[in-house]
């Protein structure tokens, strides 16, 4: 039998070990490894229903929402009194605080320069989603 060395030998898959312990001490931290923190896990409860939006303007500065901030918006949540919501008003998306008491519904800006939006009788409130987090870069 004649054997010829192959010019491109097959690559052999080798198992990867997390730590090498041929001699000496195993790492004492090894039993405590938990993986790392994932911001998505922290900020997003319902992946499919979560969207990001960019704030334009100053109507919510009192609630800590600045021009240019990134909002995490969850559509799966039922909006309640006091929630910051993205609502549809006259075909535009707007971020406001939802105020709902005694059968009255209003969308409040958190900046004295902006008037609250009152829903008239028969006008249905169209909440697009509930704001769950505000993300801002500081540099």
């Amino acid at each position: 039998m004649i054997s010829i060395p192959t010019p491109n030998p097959l690559r052999l898959e080798r198992p990867l070990f997390l730590s090498r312990v041929p001699a000496g001490f195993p790492s004492p931290a090894e039993d405590y490894v938990e993986g790392s923190l994932d911001l998505n896990e922290h900020l997003i409860a319902h992946r499919e229903a979560t969207f990001f939006m960019r704030v334009q303007g100053h109507s919510m500065t009192g609630a800590g929402i600045q021009d240019g901030d990134l909002l995490v918006v969850d559509r799966s949540l039922e909006a309640g009194h006091g929630d910051i919501v993205v609502a549809v008003v006259d075909g535009e998306l707007t971020v406001k605080r939802l105020w709902r008491r005694g059968g009255r519904v209003r969308l409040l800006a958190e900046n004295p320069a902006y008037a609250p939006i009152d829903l008239k009788d028969g006008q249905e409130l169209a909440v697009w989603g509930v704001v769950t987090n505000i993300i801002r870069s500081v540099r």
């Binding site: 010019p7 491109n8 319902h46 992946r47 499919e48 229903a49 969207f51 990001f52 939006m53 960019r54 704030v55 334009q56 303007g57 109507s59 990134l70 909002l71 559509r75 799966s76 993205v86 549809v88 075909g91 535009e92 998306l93 707007t94 971020v95 169209a126 697009w128």
Partner: protein, 419 residues
């Protein structure tokens, strides 16, 4: 038991989620290069606009009725589709994604719960989580589920959900007798006129036709369809899409291309896209087909159309090797003096990356590490970030998409704005 869930006017609905001004207005979505209508809102359907109509023929009607046209934004539709399919997948252990906007769900074992109520829950959740309207049809077979979905869509009294099995036999017969036979899944444009000529013009008549006679007159496929209409499942759910046997990438150009250099850029770009898909499914291509053509609708202009298949010395998935083969073919095809309107490539003879036959003589096997880096960079920073120089820089033949909405859900710079 099966469910078919289908998005209503899916592309238009996706546009409306992020641009609520479009709600209640007539909206169309146009094909690549803003050519033809590929999706219509209910308002546009009511105006009698048919699918596939060229946009330029609609200009006058659009002015009269304020029709809004959008270029197709497949990044947006694809992302919304993936979200929708993930939500729907929780309603059954078995799911077959049938197209971008519809999927089958296996409903075996669900018969004992009220399916109509289950369908309403599905509808309500997709509406709330994604803002998309869907219709749900239930049936004992996939063909019946499709039909039930059609009923749910066309008959408002069903409220978007139809369970055919829950109807009384009399009501069901009456319903099926009122539906054109062409609406049955699998009958198609070719079968419809022949069936009608034989007096089978509605779904009930087809269901009650003699299956052996149908097999003789038509095909075993139609016999199977009739069995399905009678509640005998013949078509299974396909949960894992089979790996594609060919991968196509072709586009019409935004402007005519006259020179070889322009065509080379286009062909290299299409190969790049197809090769990325090829690597994603873990296949190798054995041959590359290239074709180019002029505009067949431009009467009085010289016409030319030709294709050529170039076999590779060894199956490959390296973009550079595939581009080299495609350009070799293109240079053989190209004839000067024509206004080229379209080019395309097809990767053929696909095999799994593991079962390859090595060539007798050592050939260039490409560089898998380089391809991996390219795919990852492009997945991260957008298509075409890393590409071959052969694909050109800012080519003039690129698609026209003058009325495209932002990629609201897939690009940081294009997020929806809220004031």
């Amino acid at each position: 038991m099966f469910a078919l869930v289908d998005g209503n006017n899916f592309y238009v609905s996706c546009e409306r989620v992020f641009d609520p001004k479009l709600e209640g207005r007539p909206v169309v979505v146009l094909s690549n290069n803003d050519g033809c209508v590929v999706a219509r809102s209910q308002e546009v359907k009511a105006l009698g606009v048919k699918m596939g109509v060229p946009w330029f023929q609609l200009r006058e009607l659009a002015r009269q009725h304020g029709i809004v046209a959008k270029s197709s934004n497949y990044s947006l539709y694809g992302d919304m589709s993936a979200r929708m399919m993930a939500v729907l997948g929780r309603y059954s252990p078995e799911q077959e994604v049938y197209s971008i906007d519809e999927c089958f769900l296996g409903m075996d074992g669900f018969e004992r719960c009220a399916l109509a109520g289950y369908g309403r829950r599905i509808r309500a959740q997709v509406r709330q989580w994604l803002g998309l309207p869907v219709c749900v049809g239930f049936g004992a077979t996939k063909t019946l589920a499709k039909l039930a979905n059609f009923v749910a869509k066309k008959r408002p009294e069903f409220g978007g959900v139809c369970d055919l099995a829950a109807l009384s036999p009399v009501a069901r017969d009456e319903l099926l007798a009122g539906i054109d036979v062409g609406e049955v899944w699998g009958v198609g444009h070719r079968g419809t006129p022949r069936l009608k000529a034989l007096g089978i013009d509605n779904v009930k008549a087809l269901r009650d036709a003699d299956p052996t006679w149908l097999r003789r007159e038509f095909s075993v496929v139609l016999e199977r369809t009739v069995a399905e209409l009678n509640g005998t499942p013949c078509i299974d759910l396909e949960e894992a899409a089979p790996a594609k046997q060919q991968i196509m990438s072709s586009r019409a150009f935004g402007a005519y291309v006259y020179d070889l250099a322009g065509l080379e850029e286009a062909v290299a770009t299409y190969v790049g896209r197809a090769a990325e898909k090829l690597r994603r499914q873990g296949s190798l291509a054995g041959a590359v087909q290239v074709y180019i053509r002029t505009n067949p609708f431009k009467e009085g202009h010289p016409q030319y159309q030709r294709g050529l298949t170039v076999p590779l010395p060894e199956p490959a998935d390296d973009t550079r090797l595939l581009v080299r083969a495609a350009l070799l073919g293109l240079r053989r095809l190209f004839k000067p003096g024509y206004a080229y309107q379209k080019a395309g490539v097809m990767l053929m003879d696909l095999t799994g990356a593991r079962h390859t036959q090595a060539a007798l003589f050592d050939t260039d096997r490409g560089n898998p590490a380089l391809m991996r880096v390219m795919d990852r960079v492009n997945a991260c920073w957008g298509r075409g970030t890393l590409r071959l120089a052969a694909e050109g820089i800012d080519p003039h033949w690129r698609m026209r998409r003058g009325m495209m909405s932002p990629c609201y859900t897939t690009r940081w710079a294009e997020l929806p704005r809220v004031s």
